[in-house]
């Protein structure tokens, strides 16, 4: 009986952590899906948004309800500026273009994280909000985890809905599938790319302001967040939204249960191991499509 309860708890927390990881990867996935750009500054967006939430809390006792929209708006503007000022200035097509965007976002990441270091210092900080636990039968779950993962799943479905059901979403998907085709149908693809990048950045901002209640952040932890988010979307099949959801749940469950059974460092080794195995067996990710020759 106790055994079953443990497994249930592991599964539940695993799924919830999966939701949190998904939230942190949403923006990255959107940007990659449409622009084929891996935004290496993604984690830094999240971290800075989190630190901003910490400052807001310190100054006005403002909770995530205020911090989330503010951070989202701020990073929407940051996204616009980054796209206009940097990404729109280089040719992003082909393998050389891929390298160029990696390099630009890498440089950006270095700039943002070090400015953050100057402003906020190197300590881990968090927002003490939603600190109680919820009792579910005989199980206890932290409130912050429940709220974060709920918001994560809701946001993920909202993005999915927006992509599939709305006019703008259709335009974005058309651009993602064939930029040339979309352009020849008269779409302003550079505006759609601009919008996508800004939206992806805003999603990162929102995710950062929320998850800081759960995961303490420090100015330099952006790189790790980026890697984690990338692992997730690569596992799901780059740019594939349903795949990302599946991968998120899988990763969450695996991480929670392997850190329970094997310890923390083995858990992170496990994730990389599974990542490599998936890449070798299914290089296109869980639900990705194999490219044609």
């Amino acid at each position: 009986m106790l055994q079953l309860q443990t497994y249930l708890l592991l599964l539940l927390t695993g799924i919830m952590w999966g939701g949190v990881y998904l939230l942190m990867a949403l923006g990255l996935n959107l940007i990659y899906g449409v622009m084929k750009v891996v935004n290496l500054a993604h984690g830094d967006f999240i971290v800075v948004a989190g630190l901003l939430a910490v400052t807001l809390y310190g100054a006005f006792q403002a909770g995530p309800v205020l911090a989330i929209p503010l951070a989202a708006l701020l990073f929407l503007l940051v996204g616009l500026a980054v796209y206009r000022g940097l990404l729109a200035r280089v040719d992003t097509a082909g393998p050389q273009g891929e390298l160029r965007t990696l390099l630009i976002t890498f440089g950006l990441s270095s700039i943002i994280s070090n400015i953050a270091l100057l402003i906020w210092g190197g300590q881990y900080q968090s927002v003490p909000f939603f600190q109680s636990s919820v009792r579910l039968g005989s199980l206890f779950l932290p409130e912050s985890l429940i709220i974060s993962s709920l918001v994560a799943f809701v946001l993920a479905f909202a993005v999915q809905f927006w992509l599939i059901r709305t006019r703008w979403g259709r335009l974005v998907r058309a651009t993602a599938q064939s930029e040339l085709g979309a352009a020849s149908c008269g779409l302003n693809t550079s505006r759609i790319r601009l919008l996508t990048f800004a939206l992806g950045a805003a999603l990162a901002g929102a995710a950062g302001a929320l998850t800081v209640v759960l995961i303490p952040v420090q100015a330099a932890s952006g790189g790790f967040v980026t890697v984690q988010a990338f692992t997730l979307i690569a596992l799901g099949g780059l740019g594939n939204y349903l795949g990302a959801l599946l991968a998120a749940i899988l990763l969450g469950v695996i991480e929670v249960s392997s850190s329970y059974f094997l310890g923390a460092s083995a858990a992170s080794a496990m994730i990389y191991l599974i990542f490599i195995l998936v890449l070798i067996v299914r290089p296109q990710g869980l639900l990705g499509q194999r490219g044609r020759i």
Binding site: P95, L103, I104, N114, G223, S268, Y272, F275
Partner: protein
């Protein structure tokens, strides 16, 4: 008339010879400068202060890492985010050798290099099947796993690290590291002038086209991967020797990886001098910044990257290349003039007697999900004969070629070259067995010159270097591309590009030549030239199978015609018979009322 045509050509050769001599002089200048820089570095190591020597050591360390990364990611095009893992492995193996068995540093370094190669061989074989960003991230994951293993093992210090006996002075380590950096430069220079380098550049540009030219791309990639791993491990072993301490955090340091990548990209990826320039410039700048603005150093470096990428996309080297400096020298060029007495037959007789069955496809079937692209198609190619395969779009013509050349696998049926079954062979083995192909859209190697494009398959087919050079030079002449020998394929007009691609296929000395719509979009004049070339090949006993959309272009020279429609053979026979066949007229040419073609 003839004279007038000759003279400008002659003048052009002379002019190109002058420019090539100048370019060579500039190349030698680069080596001269390099020698002076190395000499200055030796002086710094001998007479400099401790800080200067340490700076020299770290610059050289990064230069070696940069060249290691450049070999796999620059020359072979497989961008890796985890080559620093081999640095860590080298560091750990060397530390273990020194701590546990009291080996000397050079023996430990040798052990580290060997260990890295032994490890890289299986890892590379598996990982290099991945493409693009997947390979990059897979390597990242592997290096993380390496770090975690190092953390959890209790052999040399575990997560806390352990001191390594320091026997060398800073001077000694700096000098040895400098030697390694020079070695890395020389290794890359040798690679860029060797057949292996040629193969790497070709597979970087287009892996399929390289396979079709008879190149074992997997083997070449794995060799490059091992070389890169060996260099990184060497750097790691010397690093341990220099700092006298080993711990997972600094051996598997991600910052090293990023800094290395930054240096190569800043200097110029895939070039000989780029990694060196990048390593020196970035090391010096970050060192100076560290002294001036320790707080803002990383911010300024980041901004520098942005500026470099936006204003200088090809790296520092591309600035020099604009003036003709530091360009890659074509391998074994320029093509030597071939005296008449030394001429080999351009098309060596492939098969003894003509009209012998060479290539035989029996009831080949290929299904893509529910769609049957080819349904029990049979085809025979005979030596000294030209077979045409015609049919509307989507008839399965190119699929048939992909099956024959091993780029795709059949669901049923057999494909034989002579007696040999080809069904399960890798594309490069089929190419070497004697089946050469062209692609529907040209797939040139943008990094190679016209001369190297021909040399690449010639090296596969020839017994010796001299023979390959002679064959490639002759083919260059035959295709009237001698004056453009060092031109990039991208600068050639479409017609010449097609000729180059046919030449590339012919350099394999094929028994069967598969041509996929080579005459599409060509002028009547160019079509005539292709006809002549094909007749020459056929006269030597080569069997030709040509897919063609332009029916009048192929009919005059075809001996036998197959008509495909929806994956089945609807007709075959002599060209005039086939064109009168009502089924063909209906399926392929539309209405049955009008005169089918003006052949």
């Amino acid at each position: 008339m003839r004279e007038r045509q000759m003279r400008p050509a002659l003048a052009r050769t002379r002019a190109s010879r002058v420019t090539s001599t100048l370019a060579r002089l500039r190349q030698e200048t680069a080596w001269l400068l390099f020698g002076i820089v190395v000499l200055a570095a030796v002086l710094v190591a001998l007479f400099g202060t401790g800080d200067q020597t340490q700076l020299l050591f770290s610059t050289c360390l990064f230069a070696v890492l940069a060249y290691a990364w450049n070999i796999i990611s620059g020359l072979s095009g497989y961008v890796s985010f985890g080559q620093v893992g081999f640095f860590g492995i080298g560091a750990y193996v060397a530390a273990t050798c020194q701590i546990l068995w009291q080996w000397d540093w050079y023996l430990a370094a040798l052990g580290a290099v060997l260990a890295a190669i032994v490890l890289a061989l299986p890892l590379g074989t598996v990982m290099l099947r991945l493409q693009g960003i997947f390979f990059a991230l897979g390597m990242f994951g592997l290096s993380r796993i390496g770090a975690l293993i190092a953390t959890s093992t209790s052999l040399v210090g575990g997560s806390m690290g352990e001191p390594v006996p320091m026997v060398g002075t800073t001077q000694e380590t700096a000098l040895v590291m400098l030697g390694c950096a020079v070695g890395a430069v020389v290794l890359t220079a040798w690679l860029l002038r060797s057949p292996l380098g040629l193969r790497l550049l070709a597979l970087r540009d287009d892996e399929k086209a390289a396979e079709a030219s008879g190149i074992n791309t997997n083997a070449s990639k794995v060799i490059a991967f091992c070389l890169s791993a060996a260099l990184a491990a060497l750097a790691g072993s010397l690093y341990v020797w220099n700092v006298g301490f080993i711990d997972p955090g600094s051996a598997f340091n991600n910052t090293y990886e990023l800094q290395t990548i930054l240096m190569v990209l800043f200097g110029g990826i895939g070039t000989l001098w780029g990694p060196l320039l990048g390593a020196v410039v970035i090391s010096l700048i970050s060192n100076a910044l560290w002294a001036q603005f320790p707080q803002q150093q990383q911010i300024i470096l980041g901004a520098l990257i942005l500026i470099a990428v936006i204003w200088m996309p090809g790296g520092l080297v591309s600035l020099f290349q604009r003036f003709g400096w530091l360009r890659r020298r074509p391998v074994w060029g320029p093509p030597p003039p071939i005296g008449t007495e030394k001429r080999l037959p351009l098309f060596p007789v492939a098969v003894g007697n003509t009209d012998e069955s060479v290539l035989c496809c029996q009831e080949v079937t290929r299904r893509f999900g529910g769609l049957t692209a080819l349904n029990r198609v049979s085809l025979e190619a005979r030596s000294g004969r030209i077979v045409a395969v015609i049919g509307p779009n989507g008839a399965g013509k190119t699929t048939l070629f992909n099956l024959i050349t091993g780029f795709d696998r059949c669901n049923g049926g057999a494909i034989r070259l002579g007696e040999r079954l080809l069904n399960r062979l890798a594309p490069y083995r089929i190419a070497r067995a004697g089946i050469a192909r062209t692609f529907q859209t040209c797939r040139p190697f943008p990094s190679l010159t016209a001369w190297e494009t021909l040399l690449l398959p010639a090296l596969v087919a020839s017994a010796s270097k001299e023979e390959a050079i002679r064959a490639a030079a002759q083919m260059l002449e035959r295709l009237a591309l001698r004056d453009q020998w060092d031109a990039s394929p991208e600068s050639l007009p479409p017609g010449q590009l097609r000729f180059l691609e046919i030449g590339r296929a012919l350099m394999l000395r094929p028994r069967v030549l598969l041509l996929d719509e080579v005459m599409a979009g060509m002028s009547p004049e160019e079509i005539r030239l292709i006809h002549t070339l094909l007749r020459e090949a056929v006269a030597a006993g080569c069997a030709v199978v040509a897919i063609e959309h332009v029916v009048p272009a192929i009919m005059p020279i075809a001996d036998h015609v197959y008509v495909l429609d929806f994956g089945t053979t609807i007709a075959q026979g002599r060209p005039d018979e086939v064109l009168r066949n009502p089924a063909v007229i209906e399926a392929y040419l539309g209405t049955g009322e009008e005169e089918p073609v003006n052949a």
